[in-house]
Assembly symmetry: C2
Homo-oligomer: 205 residues x 2
Amino acid sequence: MPKIVDHEQQKIKVAEATWRVIRKAGMENATVRQIAQEAGFSPGLMRHYFSSQTELLAYAMNLVAERVRQRIESYPFSGTPLANILWILGVFLPLDEERQAEMEVWLAFKVKSLTDPSLQELAMRVRAEMKAVMEQAILSLIESGEARPGLRADAESEPMLVYIDGLALHGLLYPDQMPQSRLSELLKLYVESLCNESNEQGVTD
Amino acid sequence: MPKIVDHEQQKIKVAEATWRVIRKAGMENATVRQIAQEAGFSPGLMRHYFSSQTELLAYAMNLVAERVRQRIESYPFSGTPLANILWILGVFLPLDEERQAEMEVWLAFKVKSLTDPSLQELAMRVRAEMKAVMEQAILSLIESGEARPGLRADAESEPMLVYIDGLALHGLLYPDQMPQSRLSELLKLYVESLCNESNEQGVTD
């Protein structure tokens, strides 16, 4: 058993080194050699954990998604529906250093998936998961009576996903024009637009 | 004079070869060697036009923006404000093969700009241009009396840019979930949300 745990921990070490290489030098420099150097692994040791670059990148991409999943699963959802939806959407925005790192790496993987079919399935699975999380958040808002009249969870979840991904993209690419304070502000305005007008004050405060 | 024209045309040839390499094999394979091969240029001839990979990539990135600019400048804006705003936002979405190619390449350049400062300034300049185009489109909608009460061009242009970039991203990354028909549908729903309720019928038809 300790051996298995160690095996997994070593793979996580390599994945985290992969993230650092991508953030520092771009996907074009995320070669097995560069990643081994960053992780402090010999080429032989690398081959022990990953048989190919493709396998390594898929593992490193999946680990980003897994970290985000764990964060959502550990959230108590004990606040108001409004606070919950702001929190859940904030999970997918670069609102602190940790999320910014995750999202930079995730975006690089998504763009790589355009030319690397082995990453496409994961990208699509995570998209479906995010959409489901958002649909659930909208449903809670509707059930609480705070949603604006006519809001439908099935119709709004995809535009919501698109807008949140757009915000994340702008936060990463244009940090001067879209600092964390502006991301938070636009997020609040968006959530307000889903709510009864009488509730808007509560979101803004 | 013919020599200057030829010089520029040869550079455009190289830029277009760069786009093809990026689309087929990803930014990580957009090396001077690969691009020369795709363009059918010798290494010596490549050096005649571009002194470095950085210069080449910046030129190829700028040419994407230039093509989009030209398309906007040649549009007569002779339709209704609603038709105009749908057209102008459609310029930035992968609604046909040509725009899909442009946007895939543009996204790859934007992501590369995260680790390549020489591309950042252009990415930011184009963002500002797009925002200005959108602000103008919203102003036209307001002036025509078709905007919903309270719509403000200065406040809406940035959320609009974010949403359109989110749509473009989803159209590129998830073509199965977000085919051109769905992109057009979400675009219309978004433009409807900016309009007087009495006008919505006209947009949907």
